[in-house]
């Protein structure tokens, strides 16, 4: 994940109509779509919701001039745990249905249930919409713009400052992560190499992680001392100048919220 950080920031630094939108608007609208997707009842009409908002997200992604491959790469990175939960749904009954009919009976007494497959597909639609919103948001908004936007929306300055510092150090870590990975590879060490004794692998990883932490901390101390000498400080974000929404931004925000609410309610009402 950490190795993708630089590519995400590179994508976020691009120029397009989507990149140019105020970070606060993108943040608020993304949260609104995610809340709508999660709040949508567990019903098959969520397919229409998915089609509508999935279509909008495809248009916005195209407008951002980013490659579909970038989206797929980032989507696959966050897929595993959610996909595990979705795939295993099909073998279990759940409280969202009253009766279940078998779709396939497998050896070892396992059964795939028709209703559970339907429920898994509903979860998949909601999951994909939520993940896609986050991918679009972070691929079109530099992290520090997001943090400044979050500060202007009321996130406490100590949180924003710590997040900002954390992100700076993440880039330090990303570089060090590559170097440590190359050093381990050069010594033919791989944590999943079963030919090496398990205790040796764990001890090497423990020392690597400890060294990783200490080197980064010391690099962090030097970096922070440099930042302080340039006027950066614990209270510097308290002086962030206010930036009221312009009239077109307010209109865009209002239209987006109305679209999200009307889209979700419309899909539910028309298919009820």
């Amino acid at each position: 994940m950490i190795e993708l950080l630089a590519s995400i920031e590179r994508d976020a630094g691009g120029s397009s109509i989507i990149h140019g939108i105020d970070a606060r608007i993108k943040l608020l609208v993304s949260i609104a779509v995610i809340v709508a997707a999660v709040a949508y009842p567990y019903a098959v009409s969520v397919y229409w919701f998915g089609l509508l908002f999935g279509g909008v997200l495809v248009i916005l992604w195209a407008a951002s001039r980013l490659s579909p491959r970038t989206y797929l790469q980032r989507f696959l990175m966050v897929l595993p745990f959610g996909f595990f939960l979705i795939v295993f749904q099909i073998f279990f009954k759940n409280p969202h249905y009253e009766s279940f009919s078998p779709l396939f009976v497998l050896p070892a007494g396992m059964t795939i249930w028709t209703e559970s497959v339907e429920f898994a597909s509903i979860l998949m639609v909601k999951f994909v919409i939520c993940i896609s919103c986050v991918i679009l948001l972070s691929s079109t908004t530099p992290i520090h713009d997001l943090l400044r936007g979050a500060r202007r929306l009321g996130l406490p300055s100590v949180v924003v400052l710590s997040l900002g510092m954390m992100v700076r150090y993440l880039f330090v870590f990303a570089g060090m992560y590559d170097r440590v990975g190359a050093a381990l590879a050069a010594k033919n060490f791989h944590p999943l190499d079963a030919s090496l004794p398990y205790r040796y692998r764990i001890r090497t990883l423990g020392y690597t992680i400890g060294m990783f932490f200490i080197r980064s901390y010391e690099q962090g101390e030097r970096t922070y001392a440099c930042m302080l000498s340039r006027g950066y400080g614990a209270d510097c974000l308290d002086a962030l100048p206010p930036k009221p929404f312009t009239a077109p931004e307010r209109a865009a925000l209002l239209f987006s919220f109305l679209f999200v609410v009307a889209g979700a309610v419309g899909c539910w009402v028309m298919t009820a």
């Binding site: 939960l85 759940n94 969202h96 939520c130 993440l170 330090v172 944590p191 999943l192 020392y207 614990a234």
Partner: protein, 213 residues
Amino acid sequence: MHIPDAFLPIGQAIVYWIIALVFFALALRWAKRELNEARIPLVAVLAAGIFALQAFNLPIAMGTSGHLVGGALAAIVLGSPYGAVFILTLVLIIQGFIFGDGGITVMGANIINMGVIGGFVGFYSYKGLKAALGSPYISAGIAAWLACVIPALAASVELFIAGTFPLVPGLIAMGTYHAVIGVIEGAITAIALYLIATVRPDILELPAGAVAS
């Protein structure tokens, strides 16, 4: 262990958010009291470090792998469970909003599991075990194991309450998986703590040889 968006109904997600915000407010009070110019780099590096630790895939068995959580390590290094809540919240914000790992509506539940449960279990079991056993590193290892397994079981219970995963298979799958990851997390936490205590003891809020009151 990161519950993704859509796996908890919105009502339950809000309840978890409210509980998480209460703990986060307490962690914020801790941060405002503790975070001076000298401590900011430590907290930020620890947050970035835990983020990076969660990116390290560790070998388990049969070709599967898992990642560390880091709640116990954060709580022990900073000498406060609220430090773990604060740091894990920072990590989850970046993971949720930048990478899409975990989620936005479920962030409250993830903060409770990894930050609150992980931090409190890790910190207080470390203190108790250290008083009983004497060894800071064995205590840290066991505390880290508990801080890995118990949040995983909590996540299984939350998914069961949400009706998105059955209880017994969830507890067995998550419990078994994280019991194995927990052994690795315990070993690595103990080794990392030993290394920090040896090379930079000034970083540790609780000296590895002492028990906090």
